[in-house]
């Protein structure tokens, strides 16, 4: 029973991390039909930069901010320098992002080496919190869960209550209509890309603190994001939340009760969802 509850909590907190990474991915895809296969690289790069800033300044929070800001800037650059010049050529964009992720992975290895980095969160986030039924649970992971909920709500408010957000949503539903209304589409694209990429960098620091950062994490989180949004439905933030929950829980329960094939289960879920609903749980028919 205690193992079950702990695994449930672990699943929820892992889902929180997956949601943070995947929400940016799905946002960018929904608006721009651009599968950014360099999303995982943004995660890892944001984490490394965040680490250097946190290490230099001694403030973990500055590191988190640096992760978000640096990757938002990188996202802007990508959008302005690369993607704007190949709008509508989705496959080419995808290939370009694969190329970028290969180069970035190698350059990051050259700069930060193969060692593992771990953040030092503030003292009050470290250690365990007393909880009923499971005795104690790591404080940081609870904070991670809270952060994901807050970010999720903030994203929802942003998309549903602000002008830019509504433009983005309109763009997700009907891209042609968006340009027909005279809105500066490039601006909306740039903002979306900055937020999506920034979220990846943010998740890099936050996730790197919960676990650690090392080469290979880029591919791991790219794959996790892929599976999450395929299951949840491309372009839907709510779908990303549902997908993240399913995958996070599957992974942890797999690890607890059937570790050998734990990783394979998440992919089985994906294939099952696809067989029944090719557009994902919350996705709209293309």
């Amino acid at each position: 029973m205690k193992l079950f509850l702990l695994t449930l909590l672990n699943g929820l907190t892992l889902a929180a991390l997956y949601f943070l990474v995947a929400s940016g991915f799905t946002l960018v895809f929904g608006l721009m039909r651009n599968v950014n296969l360099a999303h995982g690289s943004l995660y890892l790069l944001g984490a490394y930069i965040g680490y250097d800033v946190a290490d230099f300044s001694g403030s973990w929070f500055l590191g988190v901010a640096a992760g978000f800001v640096s990757m938002a800037a990188a996202g802007l650059l990508l959008q302005v320098l690369v993607f704007r010049h190949m709008e509508g050529q989705d496959l080419r964009q995808t290939l370009v992002t694969i190329g970028i992720s290969i180069v970035l992975a190698d350059l990051m290895l050259a700069i930060w080496g193969g060692t593992t980095y771990q953040f030092e969160p503030p003292e009050w986030l470290y250690g365990a919190t007393r909880m009923p039924l499971v005795r104690a649970y790591p404080t940081y992971r609870l904070a991670l869960l809270g952060t994901a909920v807050v970010i999720g709500i903030a994203l929802w408010l942003f998309l549903n209550r602000t002008r830019v957000g509504m433009m983005i949503r309109a763009g997700v539903d009907d891209r042609e209509m968006l340009s027909a209304t005279g809105i500066n589409v490039h601006l909306v694209f740039a903002i979306t890309f900055a937020i999506g990429a920034g979220l990846a960098g943010f998740a890099g620091v936050v996730g790197g603190t919960a676990l650690s950062i090392a080469p290979g994490e880029d591919v791991r989180y790219l794959l996790a994001s892929l599976v999450v949004v395929i299951v949840g439905g491309m372009g839907s933030v709510a779908g990303a939340a549902i997908g993240a929950l399913l995958i996070g829980l599957a992974e942890q329960f797999g690890l607890a009760y059937s570790p050998t094939y734990g990783v394979v289960y998440t992919f089985l879920i994906m294939v099952l969802v696809l067989a029944v609903r090719p557009q994902g749980i919350m996705g709209k028919k293309a």
């Binding site: 702990l6 250690g127 005795r135 676990l211």
Partner: protein
């Protein structure tokens, strides 16, 4: 005209170029000895591979890149730690660069692959780098593959006994990554520990690449004495942090790469926690033997950009290169007759290394000293691995009768077992 036709000149051109290159490349030099070194210089293990290469270069530099007056030409090859890439790199070194002696590779499954490849190249002598899979030399060995380093099970010699007798641990659970190297380490530990009467009630095989140990931590039962952890440095850091955060308080027993500098060097909290953790391996940073100290000093002086202290990768590549050079001297660089003399010399060599004397068994596998250590706190507050005991001349069969040892069967998730 047809489209297909138009592309033909392109292919023609590149093939011609290839053919020209091929002809010119096959005309090799005659003087000196060509030595190849193969390590992982791509991918996540790059740092380790680079340290291995330092070991090769140190051994060469000690003799001015010469053996019996002949220049040694070193050609490096790189893999990405996958067996396929190791084979391709080895093939290039052997078949294209025509090396006569090959040092490498770095990791266990690469070692198995290179051993298989060695059988097809009887004219070349292969010496291990640091790969530590048991079966590279134990089962179906290659006549021309020599391993002057010990395997993953040997590395754990003495640990099981120490944990049972001195530490008083009777029941433990094992946590390790789910592949062959950790299987071998767990076996090395369990052989002695189970023999003594200890119980390993559960083994948690963590899928490779898993970083989230929270659920593993939650699964650890309360009624055990200690946790045997055979995780690599980075994963060890992850596990320890998460275990401590979850309020865990069981003592640890470490595999050969569990409580290394990565763990002890990392800042802050988990420090005090690992003090007293025993482990065992082929080297011990803080061993006060003068030969070892001299080795460390040379390393630090030669490679100011290197690691703080030579890793077991630098050590392993160094020892194997050293063996090759010593044997070359012994036969005055006579590599004729498919290197028969050279190999005979190597087989009977008693090699003095910074970590003691090393000899080879019938399968060309090293018999060497193993270091039993325990994490201790120095006066200045830093942590180091204090040498508790040197287990002398550990054979691959761990002191068992070879027949009985082989009868244990290949290591695996469920072999051995003592619940």
């Amino acid at each position: 005209m047809s489209i297909e036709k138009r592309t033909v000149p392109g292919v023609k051109r590149s093939l011609l170029a290839a053919a020209v290159l091929a002809v010119s490349a096959s005309a090799g030099a005659a003087d000196g000895v060509k030595m190849g070194a193969l390590a992982t210089l791509e991918g996540a293990f790059t740092v380790l591979g680079e340290d291995g290469m330092r070991g090769v270069k140190m051994a060469l530099a000690e003799r001015d890149n010469k053996a019996c007056g002949q220049e040694i030409e070193l050609i490096t090859g790189s893999s990405d730690a996958s067996p396929d890439s190791a084979i391709r790199a080895a093939r290039k070194l052997v078949e294209q660069d025509k090396v006569e002696i090959l040092i490498g590779p770095l990791s266990g499954s690469e070692g198995l692959a290179v051993k298989d490849y060695a059988k097809t190249q009887p004219q070349v002598t292969f010496l291990n780098g640091t790969s530590a899979a048991q079966d590279t030399t134990l089962r179906d060995p290659a006549d021309n593959f020599f391993r002057w380093t010990t395997d993953g099970a040997q590395w754990q010699a003495g640990l099981g006994t120490y944990a049972y007798d001195e530490k008083g641990y009777k029941t433990v659970v094992a946590i390790a990554e789910d592949y062959s190297f950790p299987y071998t380490q767990v076996m090395g530990f369990m052989l002695e520990f189970c023999e003594k009467g200890g119980k390993v009630t559960d083994k948690f095989w963590v899928p490779i690449g898993n970083k989230d140990y929270s659920t593993i931590v939650a699964s650890i039962p309360d009624d055990i004495d200690a946790i045997y952890v055979a995780l690599g440095g980075a994963d060890a850091v992850n596990f320890l942090t998460q275990y401590e955060q979850a309020g865990g308080d069981k003592p640890l027993i470490g595999g050969s790469i569990t409580v290394d500098q990565t763990v002890m060097g990392s800042k802050g909290r988990r420090k005090s926690y690992v003090v007293g953790t025993p482990s065992a391996g082929p080297i011990a940073d803080s061993w006060d033997d003068p030969k070892w100290q001299a080795f460390v000093t040379t390393y630090q002086e030669t490679y100011p950009d290197g690691l703080p202290s030579p890793s077991l990768f630098a050590h392993g590549y160094y020892v194997n290169t050293l063996a090759a050079l010593t044997a070359l001297e012994a036969v005055d660089c006579d590599l004729s007759d498919d290197q028969a003399k050279f190999r005979a010399a190597m087989s009977s060599l008693e090699l003095e290394t910074p970590t003691g004397m090393v000899t080879l068994d019938a399968n060309r596998q090293a018999v060497a000293d193993i270091f039993l250590t325990e994490v201790a706190e120095a006066d200045d507050g830093t942590l180091y691995n204090k040498v508790v005991k040197v287990i002398p001349q550990v054979p691959q069969t761990m002191g068992m009768d070879p027949e009985a040892f082989l009868a244990l069967g290949p290591v695996g998730r469920d072999n051995p077992e003592c619940k």
